[in-house]
């Protein structure tokens, strides 16, 4: 059996393609990462800082709403100020081109702000429910007090009226007896 040179060339070509395809695939993947992820740390850090600032602004809004309802926010305020400090450190790291540190700090600030936001909303809801319950109790107490006062006053006045009637009857009886003695 004699091998045709064309078949040999074809086989060699296919072998080369098979050998180079993983290399092509890997190169494509790495070039994509170069363009979009790993090799643009400055843009990634800037995005992380912007996201953290938005999260802090949002958490502050939730904190303000919780504060206006009278919820306790002292610990949340401290946490959010900690997030602001971290974000400022992230900005400092960004300015010194330390982008990995900037990303880490900004992401930590964002996580803290998100948790403050969630907790502030929960405390606001709980305080509103508590205030509604207190309002219902106050209204109930007022209504019951008015009823009790009304009931007590009517009984007292009725009692005094009966006593007065009884006194008048006694006076009439006494005057009748005096009239009998005179006659």
């Amino acid at each position: 059996m004699q091998r045709h040179p064309a078949n040999l060339i074809l086989a060699l070509f296919l072998f080369m393609v098979a050998l180079s395809s993983p290399v092509i695939a890997l190169t494509t993947v790495y070039s994509f990462r170069y363009e979009h992820v790993s090799y643009q740390p400055e843009a990634q850090a800037q995005q992380a800082i912007d996201d953290a600032q938005s999260a802090i602004n949002s958490a502050y809004t939730d904190l303000m709403l919780a504060d206006s309802t009278g919820a306790s926010i002292t610990d949340l305020l401290s946490s959010l100020n900690g997030a602001i400090t971290e974000l400022n450190q992230a900005r400092s790291a960004f300015n010194t081109t330390d982008y990995p540190s900037a990303i880490t700090l900004a992401e930590s600030a964002q996580a803290t702000a998100d948790s403050v936001s969630t907790e502030a909303s929960a405390r606001r809801s709980a305080t509103l429910v508590q205030q509604q319950a207190q309002l219902i109790i106050i209204i109930g107490v007022v209504i019951i007090t008015v009823f009790i006062t009304y009931f007590a006053l009517t009984r007292i006045i009725r009692y005094q009226r009966e006593k007065k009637r009884e006194f008048l009857r006694m006076e009439i009886r006494l005057s009748d007896e005096e009239d009998g003695e005179d006659t």
Binding site: N57, T61, L63, D67, S68, L77, N81, V146, I157, R158
Partner: protein, 167 residues
């Protein structure tokens, strides 16, 4: 019996009227609490003067800026430091047009005090500088940082007149 019921109801009505009147008088006649913020400048010893108004180039300026929140609710404050001159200085209605050289931010509860230590190294020389500190705050409804104004509508700021001479 009807007469006594009317008496009781009249007494209850009088009591209610007195209570409502007392409440309304306390709301209308008593002065409302003033909602404002305060920014003040102190020297490095935390005293209101003397201030370093004449300094040499590359020397450090140490100051403290004090902020109080009396706006009734929690506030997200920014203190913006600007090196202005006579043409870019702030006035009651307009903040300084000079660029920001330093910015500090913090959230304060109602009644809380914030002290910001300021350390600046003056690299430029000149006279009649105004080292200006403006109080800004984040406004959620506008999603923007705006200048804090008092009840007369005047912006809150303090400044240090400054002359920087060569070494």
């Amino acid at each position: 019996m009807k007469k006594y019921t009317q008496t009781i109801l009249t007494l209850l009505m009088i009591g209610l009227a007195v209570a409502t009147g007392t409440l309304l008088v306390s709301v209308w006649l008593l002065p409302p609490p003033e909602h404002t913020a305060v920014i003040a400048m102190l020297n490095e010893d935390m005293e209101a003067g003397p201030y370093p108004t004449n300094v040499t180039q590359y020397s450090n300026i140490s100051l403290n800026i004090e902020v109080y929140n009396y706006l009734g609710v929690v506030q997200y404050f920014y203190v913006r430091t600007k090196l202005a001159n006579q043409t870019t200085m702030a006035n009651a209605t307009t903040p300084s047009s000079a660029s920001i050289i330093l910015q500090s931010d913090r959230i304060l509860a109602h009644g809380e005090r914030w002290v910001i230590p300021i350390e600046l190294n003056m690299t430029t020389t000149g006279t009649n500088f105004r080292l200006t500190f403006e109080l800004w705050h984040y406004n959620p409804s506008q999603d923007d940082i705006i200048w804090v104004r008092n009840q007369r509508g005047e912006g809150l700021w303090v400044h240090l007149p400054l002359n920087v001479t060569g070494p």
